[in-house]
């Protein structure tokens, strides 16, 4: 079931079009990563989804509520972590969460229970008597994540959650997001950190200059952009004469003295056949393995193509 649905979403600011005709869905319990360079329209998209901005054209529904018709309801159902979350520095964590819980209409007892549980869950309970202004960057980001969760939102929008953090802080926040994912939260993750997207997301949406340029799982994107997987065979003996034998099964992309590379859409059938041919010719095989295909390659390929 789609919890978030954007249909032909367009957002213009004066003469500038930030998002143009974007359509996608986020399903219950799914983590969708929105990838793209700075200024691609990710933050604007998230703001439209969180009913902070109104679409210029198209529409957005969250749990069935149209953001234009029922923005309050939408904002009650979503939790938003912004790219640079400022906290109220003179407040203490419990007080801060109590305020946002109250703004979301939670009663006092629920607010206290949830705040305590979340602070413990995110390892911030020990700092409950400190002012938020005294928190480290990582702690602040986690605190902002806790704030986004205080009203048990159905959907979480995380906008560049690790962008401003050092490696340790980023790791902590990534772990927290991974835990939320395991717990079955529906998450839309905006990032330009490709490793983060690859590790955390079920599906990816690549956006460039306000338009979606590619979508799918990591594997699907690799397939779409880089083609079928490439395998490399390394041989212990010289290649002389053996290439003709494997050509009956595959067409090598290139070769050298140590081996060759080929592409196949059916590795489960092709790879055993290649090995069998090589074995029949008496050539000893050191290894047959897929060439690593990074999401970064997909991304750079796409950005190069659209630019």
């Amino acid at each position: 079931m789609a919890v978030v649905e954007a249909v032909e979403l367009t957002k213009r600011f004066g003469t500038i079009t930030a998002v143009s005709g974007v359509s996608f869905q986020v399903h219950e319990g799914e983590v969708l990563a929105l990838l793209g360079p700075n200024g691609a329209g990710k933050t604007t998209t998230v703001r439209c989804l969180a009913a902070i901005l109104q679409p210029t054209a198209g529409h957005v529904r969250v749990a069935g509520y149209d953001t234009r018709v029922a923005p309050r309801q939408v904002r009650r159902l979503v939790g938003l972590l912004t790219e640079f979350p400022g906290l109220y520095g003179r407040m203490k964590p419990m007080e801060y969460l109590d305020f946002f819980g109250a703004m979301h209409g939670l009663d006092g007892q629920t607010r206290r229970q949830r705040a305590e549980a979340l602070l413990k869950q995110f390892g911030l309970w020990h700092a409950r008597d400190r002012r938020l202004g005294q928190f480290s960057k990582g702690m602040r980001q986690k605190m902002a994540l806790v704030r986004a969760l205080i009203h048990a939102p159905r959907v979480l929008f995380l906008d560049e959650p690790t962008a401003a953090l050092d490696p340790e802080g980023a790791y902590q926040v990534r772990q927290a997001i991974a835990d939320l994912r395991r717990q079955g939260h529906t998450i839309l993750l905006c990032t330009h950190n490709l490793v983060e997207a690859e590790t955390l997301a079920d599906r990816l949406l690549i956006i460039h200059e306000g338009r979606i340029v590619a979508r799918g799982t990591v594997e699907e994107l690799k397939e779409q952009v880089l083609g079928p997987p490439v395998f490399r065979v390394r041989l212990a003996d010289r290649l002389d004469g053996t290439l003709d034998a494997v050509r009956e099964v595959i067409e090598p992309l290139d070769w050298d003295a140590d081996g060759f590379r080929y592409r196949t859409t059916t590795p489960e059938q092709t790879n055993p056949a290649v090995l069998a041919r090589l074995h029949a010719t008496g050539v000893r095989v050191i290894s047959l393995e897929p060439e690593p295909r990074r999401l970064e390659d997909v991304y750079l390929h796409l950005m190069g193509a659209v630019s």
Binding site: R47, V78, Q113, D179
Partner: protein, 511 residues
């Protein structure tokens, strides 16, 4: 994180039954903001000092003034110093509301905490009112405490019987001034991109208010306290207008999207030119496509289509002008109760045509405020007043333009009333002195005023889809169109009639 703690945080699904407006959200926001202000020593210490110490300083000053004036039997001035002190002890802590209000939205934006607030279910009105009340309540409370301390100390020490009406006036004035400062400052805060920019604009609030406080002080020393109620009333009307403008123009989208403040003169100039040339009904379309070739300006179209359409669109402005003309005349008529006109000043029964013509010839020299009796001078004087009204309308939400229309009508009303009181025919006076050129001039001035009022009014209520700046440019373009193609030609005709026909009508009717 552990799976066990997750069960703890599971809450029932939230029922989306939020009311359209929720005071609970407003008060939640107010409580947080006030608590935050109370934790900021930069706010607490000055407010505390002004609230607790300044009344005693003022009381000491009152003692010194009383003692000094008693030596010269001028105790009446001393007694008027007390309400002035009351006004001052109330105003100083109140001025802090400006500091708090100015950074209400833009401060949060700078600290990156605004988006989280905008992501809560609170609507625009709740956010706006929450910020407004949070900025107002603490300084207002401090003002009331200051006023109370000063009152108690003055009454206690000097056994001075403070009239309840004066106390009520000062409390009302302090509250109304605080509201004006806060509503205006919150408005500024929600339309700027940095605290620095908001602070720079603060002078547009504090200077008029400081000027007003000086006027109030003068009124107190003059002993015309009743006039202070009119100021309270005016301030409350302004409060309502500002709150309405704040809510109407509050735009969470603009707050987040606006990255930098700069005066794009070229854009506004081009927009003005396009609005000026296009038919009125195409304004919204022009707003979006002003970058293209401007539509052609057709004189025939302007008279046949544009001006009638603009008049229909601005019927509320015309109604306000008409109301001001009638109201001004009636107020002027009633003013005779306070201002007595010398009997020989208005004795038309001994009208001397020669003396009348001679008086007209030396008018410009004898009365500096009136132009010489020459059609160029009259035309230029009228045009200058109308343009001044339009310009000042921008800074007064249209009020000054209406006041400039009301003033001559009050004078006419006063003169007519004076004639009626001395059993003279005031209708004959109007027919002779006003009607010949007034039949052209008065509708022309009303027309100009109606469009001048619109320049200020659109700041409170810009058309749908227009920013405040775009709305003002549109109103200016419409004003210039009306001015060039209707007001100026008619003013010229009216001035010619006033110089060459009206005096003859006066002589004919009164001889």
């Amino acid at each position: 994180m552990s799976e066990r703690t997750l069960e703890l945080v599971a809450v029932p699904d939230i029922a989306p039954t939020h009311p359209r407006f929720d005071w609970a959200l407003v008060w939640t926001l107010v409580r947080r903001e006030i608590r935050d202000s109370l934790r900021d020593w930069r706010i607490v210490i000055p407010i505390g000092l002004l609230t607790l110490l300044f009344p005693f300083v003022m009381n000491f000053m009152a003692d010194v003034v009383f003692d000094f004036l008693e030596r010269y039997d001028a105790t009446i001035i001393g007694e008027r110093f007390v309400p002035f002190g009351l006004l001052a002890v109330g105003f100083f802590p109140m001025s802090f509301s400006l500091v708090i209000a100015l950074e209400s939205f833009v401060g949060e934006r700078e600290r990156n905490s605004l988006e989280a607030l905008l992501a809560t279910p609170a609507g625009d009105v709740e956010l706006y009112l929450g910020k407004l009340l949070a900025s107002l309540l603490l300084p207002l409370l401090a003002s009331y405490i200051g006023i109370a301390i000063y009152t108690v100390s003055v009454v206690w020490e000097r056994r001075w019987n403070l009239p309840a009406s004066v106390f009520a006036q000062v409390v009302a004035l302090t509250t109304a001034e605080g509201l004006v400062m806060v509503t205006a400052a919150v408005l500024v805060s929600s339309h700027t991109t940095s605290v620095r920019a908001a602070n720079l604009l603060a002078s547009f609030i504090i200077v008029p208010i400081a000027f007003l406080v000086q006027i109030e002080s003068l009124i107190i020393f003059w002993g015309q306290e009743q006039a202070l109620w009119w100021i309270v009333l005016g301030l409350l009307v302004l409060d309502v207008a500002l709150v309405r403008a704040g809510i109407r123009t509050f735009n969470r989208e603009a707050i987040l999207a606006r990255e930098i403040d700069f005066l794009n003169v070229e854009r506004f100039a081009r927009l003005f030119w396009h609005f000026f040339k296009a038919p009125p009904e195409e304004a919204a379309q022009v707003r979006q496509q002003y970058g293209g070739t401007p539509p052609s300006l057709q004189l025939g179209r302007i008279y046949r289509h544009d001006l009638p359409r603009l008049l229909a669109e601005n019927r509320w402005g015309l109604a306000a002008s008409l109301l001001t003309v009638v109201g001004g005349f009636l107020v002027g008529w009633a003013l005779l109760t306070w201002w007595e006109i010398p009997p020989d000043f208005l004795d038309m029964r001994s009208f001397d045509p020669e003396a009348f013509r001679a008086a007209l010839q030396r008018r410009g020299a004898a009365f500096a405020l009136l132009p010489a009796f020459d059609f160029r001078a009259i035309f230029w004087h009228n045009l200058r007043v109308l343009l001044g009204g339009a310009l000042l309308s921008l800074f007064s939400f249209g009020v000054v333009a209406l006041l400039l229309l009301a003033a001559p009508m009050m004078i006419i009303g006063l003169l007519a009333s004076g004639l009626a009181a001395s059993s003279q025919n005031w209708l004959l006076f109007l027919a002779a002195f006003i009607l010949p050129h007034g039949v052209i001039e008065l509708p022309t001035v009303m027309l100009s005023t109606a469009f001048a009022v619109r320049i200020g009014a659109v700041m409170l209520n810009p058309p749908e889809g227009f920013s405040v700046g775009e709305a003002v440019v549109l109103a200016l373009a419409d004003y210039v169109k009306v001015l060039l193609f209707a007001v100026i030609p008619l003013l010229l005709v009216a001035a010619l009639v006033e110089v060459y026909i009206t005096p003859n009508v006066v002589v004919w009717l009164y001889s």
